[in-house]
Subunit: 237 residues, 2 copies
């Protein structure tokens, strides 16, 4: 199974193996950015059909083409068509405009599991910092914008550089998965488990998503100091 490379299974007890079939098609809004493209490619490499979404269908198809040429089950579409075609929709767009985009897609996203990966961060000379978000977090903003969807927060802290680095077979980091719906958080945890090296770990309700999003600012500080692509592992599990 993809989720249990030999080296990793020696270090960590592997959860029940995930299979690509259980996820249906996964759409990635913002699928032409590094984070969305990287996640899409990793899911597709694990056997999950992926639709990269973008405001512009042509750009999405352009981003998908090299992956499709490499034999991966990836296609491109505009955000609305991508959302409509999938069971699980990853939101990997910039924070700016995030709430408005989701509201505009609320019909397409109704009944779906929406996975918010968005980090509300500002940047200045001293680096990155958490932006004030009235709802508490981008994920809670998504939940408020999408009353008919099941919102999960995950994948905020995963390095886009590592996701996109095709020379790396594994992405050795844990993914904190937050949400109110146990079935949905379990499913998205298993989706993370599909990527070799990655573990999905339930880490609380959406009210505790803000600090996970903001932790990316700390990882950026760590990257700057140590010249790294830092992520986190949870110890003792």
């Amino acid at each position: 199974m993809a989720s249990s490379s030999d080296a990793l299974s020696n270090l960590y007890p592997t959860p029940a193996d995930a299979t690509p079939e259980e996820f249906g098609t996964v759409a990635v809004l913002g699928g032409t950015g590094p984070q969305g493209r990287g996640l899409g490619r990793r899911f597709a490499a694990a056997g999950v059909p992926v639709i990269l979404g973008s405001r512009d269908a042509g750009r999405a198809q352009q981003a998908a083409q090299p992956m499709a040429d490499a034999g991966l089950p990836v296609s491109g579409a505009d955000n609305a068509a991508a959302a409509a075609a999938a069971r699980i929709v990853i939101v990997a767009v910039p924070y700016d405009g995030h709430g408005d985009l989701l509201k505009s897609l609320s019909a397409e996203l109704a009944g779906k599991i929406v996975v918010d990966c968005v980090n509300p961060l500002g940047f200045d000379k001293q680096g990155a910092y958490q932006l004030a978000v009235e709802a508490g977090s981008a994920a809670q903003e998504a939940a408020a914008a999408l009353p008919d969807s099941t919102v999960v927060a995950a994948f905020q802290n995963v390095s886009a550089v590592l996701l996109e680095d095709e020379t790396r077979e594994t992405v050795d980091t844990d993914v904190l998965v937050l949400g109110e719906d146990r079935e949905a958080t379990d499913l998205i945890g298993r989706l993370a488990d599909l990527i070799p090296g990655m573990r999905g770990i339930f880490a609380g309700r959406l009210r505790n998503a803000g600090q996970v999003e903001a932790l990316t600012a700390n990882l950026i500080s760590i990257n700057r100091r140590y010249k790294a692509h830092a992520g986190i592992r949870v110890t003792d599990i």
Copy 2:
């Protein structure tokens, strides 16, 4: 060296070895609580003289006695005397009253490195959650209360249960160290390195301390779900 058990040094590049002499005496305000007592015992076990502080000198001496009986360099004193005698002062008190305590000790803490480990968390039936802090974080509140001290944020996410478990030789977790003063954050990073299994890692300025404090709420959710004493490791460094 304490900071480089053989198993660990295989996994992680060890920073320049720390020596107990470079830290002087370390005081722990709130040294009778599980976190303070656990940190104090671990520092003392690494050879650093520790004074456990408490509102009540008698209670502090009582907490120190079993460690002193075991041959560790630990004594107890009231918070003010402990603060006055140390170069590095760890603040491991409950969030409630934290700002007032620090203001009352501002003379004793002037010129010292003050390490804030405090987590402003609330608890209800659904678990732990971040409290709103006007200054942004407990650490920033400490910095505002102590203009003549150098405030560092660290040790917020370390399990008190693991710290206090004498059967565990190592505490296998990283410590995120935040602050404005490079010399102070480096020193406190090395203090963390002294505890076997632990690494101190610079993780940004104090404005990014709030999410590190709040992350403890996620660790509490993880502990509940997985029956663990979770901590974090930073990957790729």
